[in-house]
Symmetry: none
Amino acid sequence: MPKKTFLRLKASKQTRVYQGLIDVFYEKGYEAVSVADIVKVCAIPRGSFYMYFEDKFDAFMYILSHAQKDKMIYLKPVLDRLNDRAFMDCYIDLIKAGLAYANEHPKLVGLWMRFYRSSSHRLSQHWRVFELQAIDVLSEYLKQDQNRGHIRDEVDIRSLAKLLYHIQSIDILEAYIDGEAENTIINKVDAYLEIILNGIKEA
Amino acid sequence: MPKKTFLRLKASKQTRVYQGLIDVFYEKGYEAVSVADIVKVCAIPRGSFYMYFEDKFDAFMYILSHAQKDKMIYLKPVLDRLNDRAFMDCYIDLIKAGLAYANEHPKLVGLWMRFYRSSSHRLSQHWRVFELQAIDVLSEYLKQDQNRGHIRDEVDIRSLAKLLYHIQSIDILEAYIDGEAENTIINKVDAYLEIILNGIKEA
Amino acid sequence: MPKKTFLRLKASKQTRVYQGLIDVFYEKGYEAVSVADIVKVCAIPRGSFYMYFEDKFDAFMYILSHAQKDKMIYLKPVLDRLNDRAFMDCYIDLIKAGLAYANEHPKLVGLWMRFYRSSSHRLSQHWRVFELQAIDVLSEYLKQDQNRGHIRDEVDIRSLAKLLYHIQSIDILEAYIDGEAENTIINKVDAYLEIILNGIKEA
Amino acid sequence: MPKKTFLRLKASKQTRVYQGLIDVFYEKGYEAVSVADIVKVCAIPRGSFYMYFEDKFDAFMYILSHAQKDKMIYLKPVLDRLNDRAFMDCYIDLIKAGLAYANEHPKLVGLWMRFYRSSSHRLSQHWRVFELQAIDVLSEYLKQDQNRGHIRDEVDIRSLAKLLYHIQSIDILEAYIDGEAENTIINKVDAYLEIILNGIKEA
DNA sequence: AATGAATGAGGATTCATTCAT
DNA sequence: GATGAATGAATCCTCATTCAT
């Protein structure tokens, strides 16, 4: 929710500011960034920043939302095929699509992690909302799978959704940021899925 | 690692400072707390703070370590019986012991969450260490289970350990902080365990 | 003294701006109002403000003058009858006419009070001028009364004028703003007049 | 109500700051003074100001209260003799004592005027309290006079008190600030008293 | 060892005014 | 004439740390 003034800016300037914001937040992390940092990196006057955004938080939310919309473009093709197939069969594809996005926008992934791990009150509140939405969407798909008999009736779908969500959020993203190779990451996901699909109990 | 000066203080003052630190960090969150806040809440002179601790970070780590030692007292009895029993059978007991601890020290649980979700560079670094230690310990126990044939050989123990760790860290702690009733939380854990033990696939 | 551009505006827009100015100055007080506040409340472009007025001060003086002209409309009928009657007999009517005006334009009364109690250098200078004018007019009428023998020769007319002026400015206006009932206010004026007419000394 | 830190300062520094505050507030007027101005004139570091006072308002109230205590020292002798004499007979002495004080502390009189004429919300609120106290005290003395038969029973004492208060506050102080000679001012007071004592009506 | 005053750089935000469109 | 983006100085206040007592 940048201010109208920002949205009326010519595209090139908007992009410059957008990129500057990503750079500076990626570099120093949300709390460590000052408005002084921002205006320096974006090369805009101090006063202009407040014409474009409410405050630092507003600017941060702007790039996060922008990033999320971007990511959906990568996930869309996978999600579109979901009606024909079991969600759990596609899960690894979703992860791969996410990795493809990450490769194109590595800084944004870092930002996302920072957001995930943010102690700022305001940030966490917003995060919880994002989180619940994502888990709701996952639950929806998984419920379909259960109805179709792909998932045992005894399985609590919401718990399963949370499990899948956190696997992706924490472990996969973290591995990516640590610079692990893509196939290593895929192997990790496979290991998780092996457990979730088959359970750990000796038959 | 508070300074020697602090450790030489008489117990009553140490406790006052310890409680003050918990209160103020709980109240405002790590990054928002200033040294000015600390000395006011702990009712110590400004200069004394720097005689007791290196800086804010040092003080925060002090209460976290202290808290962790406290927690181990609650977990000890459960862990002691582990040699005779399968770890996975005891997992729910571990959670219960954790909840008992939480009930006695609710503010510390809040702090722990803040720590878990901290974007401060220094904090995350330390956190990763804590995290890896915990996962290592879990892995050890789970490996034993696998050797004894309680867990399928195909299961990747480290992935399993991470799964169990995150379930506890995020979902259980969060439910606790949200004020959910103890048996509701236990039910949640059961739902997770049901999935992990039996898998989700229809037989 | 708004700029010509403002006076050429169509009446409806002039009124909108006039009302907006009253609202915003009444709301926040002269010094606290910024040009940003003004353009928001008046719903005019930032640049237009400087086409209409010199600056904030100019805008404030505009509404004050405007208000004063308005007020004269209420006082006119009373003043017109003054030639036939003793001024002091009409004083209470003047106060009543003032209250009638206040009831129609309560915000302007608030503004007037703010003006009266303004520490801004520029404002006080202008105020002194207003004040002296008002006292001059009062003196004129009172001198007539004295010449006609309604007022003792020993009375210093200018002092009397100031006394009457300040009674009205401070106590009556303040009572009005505090929301006191009209007849309570009239009683106050009567009490003042009783003193001024008859003196306080026991005969 | 300066902070403890200020009151613990050694006297010479307290005085320096006190004088600096008087100078700067006198020079520019309350609203126009910035903290930057204050620290420059008082020759203290920016941070120190906030160790001594809550904010600009606090600093201003400090010098006003201080000034008021000072003034009482001048008025005390006159007030002490009041039990034996009619208050109205002493009123002129009170004014003279006030003028003596003003001659010693001319800047403080200017400040007092600024305070009297302040549109700052916070300032006016405090002012009203001061004002009511002063009027209460006056009323007390005047009531005694009335009981002793020095003042007609029909006179509303509170109205009389307000009249006397405003005469002093506005006209006398203003004349003083305008640099009028002391005997001119005394003559003015006499003119007011002549009216109030004897009334304006031709016998 | 204990204290609390000192410091000035750095934090966010607002400001009146100009000027290119 | 109308518009609203641009500007950077100026606002208040907090900060972690030091150091003289």
